[in-house]
Symmetry: C2
Subunit: 241 residues, 2 copies
C-alpha cells in the first residue's frame, strides 16, 4: 500500500492500471467522435470493444460497494465523471487547493461538444457542480447540491486550456454557498462562465437513508460525510494505521 499526498493508503499498481485504462478509454472516446472510417470498419471496431468489455466483466464489484481505490473520507473517487482518473467521461479535471478555494486546469475535446466548436452548455454545469462541490469538501463542508446557477458570458472553446476556480463564500450549519468560474488559461480573469451553488449536508437520518447500503471495499459501511462527522475521523485514523 502506497500513501498518496494526503496520507491515505492505496494499491499503487491498481491505481496505475486504472489510470492507464482511463486514459486509454478517453483516447478511444475521442477517436470515436473524430473518425471517418467506413461503416464496416466501425462494426469491426465495435467487435473489439465488445471483447474488451467482456474481459472487464469477468469480475465486478458488488452493488453499493465503493471501488478499492476510493476513499469515502477524502472523497477520492477514481471513477468520478469529472475528476476521475479512471473515468472515460471525465476530461479529467485535476483540482488542487489554492488560498481561499480550489483551482484546476482542464481541456475539453470534441466528445464534449455542444454548438459546433464549443463546449456543450451542460458540460459547464457538470464541471462547475464538481468544482463548487470540491471547494466545499476541501473546506470540510461537504454537502449535496441543493441549487446550481450558471451564467454563460461567452462560448467555451474546445481544445483550449481552461482554468476552473471555486470558493466557499458563506457557510452556516449544514449549508454552504459557493461561487466559481470557467475561463481560458490565457485570460484567467475574464470569466466565460460564472457559477453559484448551494450545498447542503443532509440531516443525519436522511443521510443514513440515502446511503444505507454504501460500503467501502472491505465491506464497512462508508456513507459520505464531513470530516467533522463523528464517524469520519475514526475511519480515517483506522485507514492510516
Amino acid at each position: 500500500m502506497t500513501p498518496d499526498d494526503e496520507g491515505t493508503p492505496y494499491d499503487a499498481d491498481l491505481m496505475s492500471a486504472v489510470a492507464d485504462l482511463g486514459e486509454t478509454l478517453r483516447g478511444l472516446v475521442d477517436a470515436s467522435v473524430r473518425t471517418a472510417v467506413p461503416a464496416a470498419e466501425l462494426h469491426d471496431v465495435a467487435g473489439l470493444v465488445r471483447a474488451a468489455a467482456g474481459r472487464l466483466g469477468a469480475a465486478t464489484r458488488p452493488p453499493g460497494q465503493l471501488p478499492p481505490l476510493d476513499d469515502p473520507v477524502r472523497f477520492r473517487r477514481v471513477y468520478n465523471p469529472v475528476t476521475g482518473v479512471g473515468s472515460a467521461l471525465a476530461p479529467p479535471l485535476e483540482l488542487r487547493e489554492e488560498p481561499g478555494g480550489v483551482v484546476g486546469e482542464v481541456t475539453f475535446g470534441l466528445a464534449h461538444e455542444g454548438p459546433p466548436g464549443y463546449l456543450h452548455g451542460g458540460m459547464s454545469g457538470l464541471v462547475m457542480d464538481q468544482v463548487l462541490g470540491s471547494a466545499t469538501i476541501r473546506a470540510g463542508l461537504w454537502g449535496m447540491t441543493a441549487r446550481l446557477e450558471l451564467d454563460y458570458r461567452r462560448p467555451v472553446p474546445l481544445d483550449t486550456p481552461l482554468v476552473c476556480r471555486g470558493r466557499v463564500t458563506e457557510h452556516g450549519g449544514r449549508k454552504s454557498a459557493v461561487t466559481g468560474t470557467i475561463a481560458t488559461a490565457a485570460e484567467p480573469d475574464r470569466p466565460l462562465v460564472e457559477a453559484r451553488g448551494v450545498f447542503v449536508l443532509p440531516r443525519e437520518e436522511l443521510r443514513e437513508a440515502y446511503f444505507a447500503d454504501v460500503t467501502d471495499a472491505s465491506g464497512r459501511h462508508a456513507p459520505p460525510s464531513r470530516p467533522t462527522d463523528a464517524t469520519a475521523p475514526a475511519r480515517a485514523a483506522e485507514d492510516r494505521s
Copy 2:
C-alpha cells in the same frame, strides 16, 4: 440515402454502424467502472482499447467539419454528449415532442455517479441544459445557453428509469425562457430536479464570428441557426432534393 422521420437524408448503413459502436462504447464505459479484474488484466484490456482507437484514427474528419450524419438545420447531432447515438458519454437520452414541449426517458448508470448510488449533481445540469435547449429547437427558437438554474429537490437514483421534460414558457426576439424537470418514470409528477434556462440566439455578426469555420460534410458553411433564419430553409430544401 434514407430519409429519417423528419425527412432529411442520411446514410442508413453508416448510422447503424455509428449507433452500434456508440452502444458498444457505452457498454465498455459501464464495464470499466464496475470491473474488479486485477491490475495486469486492466493493462491488457487497455492494450485492446488502444488498438481499437488506432483503427478509428486511420481516417478522421477535418476540424470544423460536422459528421456526415449530422444535420445542422434539424440539429441531429450523432455525437451529442447527452442525446447522441454515437456518443460514449451520452446515456443516451431520446427526446420527442409532446404537447407544449419535449419529453424523454433515460436511465443513468454507475459511470454517471456522484454521491454513492446517485447521479452526479452536475449530470442533472448537463441533461437539463440539453432538454431545455431541445425544447427551444423544437419550438423553432434555437439559442445558446445564457443562464441555467437548477433546484435539487431529492437525489436522482442510478439504474432507475427517469423522465425528463422541457417547455418554452416565454419568448421574444432572440431570447427564450424554458423550464423543465427530472423525475422517476414511476412518479413523473414528483420532480427530483427543477430547471430553468434562458437561451439566446447570438446576433448575426456574433454568430458568424463564432461559427465562421463550421461546414457540413460536403464542405458547405453550416452554422447553427433557427429554421426561420434566411439561410436555413434554403439549405434544408437543397438537402431534401
